[in-house]
Amino acid sequence: MITIIDYKTGNSGSIHNVYRRIGLESRITSSPTDILDADALILPGVGSFDRAMQNLEEMNLIPVLEESVLDQKIPFLGICVGMQVLAHQSEEGNRNGLGWIDASIQKFEMSLIGEKKVPHMGWNNLLLRKNDPVTMGLNGTERFYFVHSYHYTIPTNAEILATTSYGYEFPSLIKKENIYGIQCHPERSHSSGIAILRNFATMGG
């Protein structure tokens, strides 16, 4: 089953709602057994980097996540902060990230974005760089809802499937084997976001 990880920070409910809307079964859970037994895992993200890592640690979820994602290779999708915690560290906080992706998280470089505002808030594009099943049916013109002040540096051990331009381009959809990370909120991006969540769900069989 599609398993949405509840770690007391994300908006797990809205992802669950999307799946209910398109007739796919999903569950919201923080149970290690459920996580080990999942067909596909989603780590939602609303909140700050440190709070997200703190909750994952305190709820003792990191070992089971590593077992299912790194060892069992269960398809995994991290959304927004849920994507950012896959990196080693973030300028937003002091805690270490999960370190699955060789990259760090930096604040938008104010000197490079002109008069643009931070957070980057609103509807922007995913500029598709590589074909992948997760973006099947998209052509790069669709709009997705972004709300963030920090973004990925270029990862050395993951592919960049899409970038987004806000003053400059940053990685907004990345992939390393079974691990996906997306910076925008597909669960809040109407039909274009629903397409991505549907595509991801099919990877879990």
Partner: protein, 269 residues
């Protein structure tokens, strides 16, 4: 490719019902905020704001239920404001399905609430709503703002739904809110609110140019051109309106088609 200018309908909610009159055909229940929000969702709204104007403790659970039902059916961002005073209030509101929360009076009374909330939930989900009133006399050490006729004035922060003066300079308050971790400012001018004469451009522009977080312009929309003015002259990142949408004077699609025609980037409906 740029981030698009956002159009945001705002629903004032009292005891679980939309209070400003609405004029939609085909709604089963015109007073149900969820049904109305869903209509705006279909029309191409970029976000939806729920403003709870009862905001009393006993009606909190009703609002939470409304948010829950809305989050079930909307697949776009939802901001909820009104009566949020504590971190626990924020937790409850976000858990029900809101993406962002808006604080106004409680932030003025306790600016550290902004800081604490931003640390826990991230700056992106904390909207600070500011209601302002214009003063044309005696601006002393307040931030001077020039009106279109050349006259100088300053703007004061008002709280408690615009009923209470604070003496606080609005531009300084916006900067302080930003420095404490607000992710966005929702600016409503009492000079223009309800007039249908357009947004208060001078203060919108001044605040937008003084801070590096997005500004939502609110109060005064009467025509399609007012949206254009808000983005171009007010330098707003988003424009919010209530009655013109509720009364069916224009649809969100109308606004977006108009703006697209004038080369303002919008998310297509």
């Amino acid at each position: 490719m740029v981030v698009t200018c956002r159009i945001i309908p705002c629903l004032d909610i009292k005891d679980g019902r939309v209070v400003k009159g609405i004029n939609f055909l085909g709604l089963n229940d015109a007073g149900d905020p969820v049904e109305l929000a869903e209509r705006y969702n279909q029309q191409g709204a970029d976000e939806v704001v729920f403003l709870d104007i009862t905001a009393s403790k006993e009606n909190r659970s009703m609002l939470i239920d409304t948010i829950r039902r809305a989050a079930d059916r909307l697949f776009l961002p939802l901001t909820v404001g009104g009566g949020i005073r504590t971190i626990d209030d924020i937790v409850m509101t976000l858990r029900a399905g809101a993406d962002k929360i808006s604080i106004n009076t409680s932030a003025v009374e306790n600016p550290l609430l902004i800081k604490e909330a931003a640390q826990v939930f991230g700056t992106q989900c904390i909207v600070v709503a500011i209601d302002v009133r214009r003063h044309t006399s005696r601006y002393d050490d307040h931030t001077p703002v020039q009106l279109s006729d050349g006259q100088m004035c300053w703007y004061e922060v008002m709280t408690h739904g615009g009923s209470r003066s604070t003496g606080i300079d609005a531009v300084k308050w916006a900067k302080l809110a930003e420095s404490y971790g607000a992710g966005e400012i929702l600016l409503t001018s009492m000079e223009t609110d309800g007039t249908k004469n357009g947004f208060d451009i001078p203060i919108t522009r001044t605040i937008s140019e003084s801070i590096r977080i997005p500004v939502i312009a609110s109060g005064g929309v009467g025509t399609l051109e007012h949206f254009y003015d808000g983005f171009v002259f007010g330098k707003a990142d988003a424009c919010l309106a209530a009655s013109v949408f509720h009364y069916g004077e224009m649809t969100i699609r109308d606004v977006k088609e108009y703006l697209a025609g004038r080369e303002i980037p919008v998310r297509p409906v």
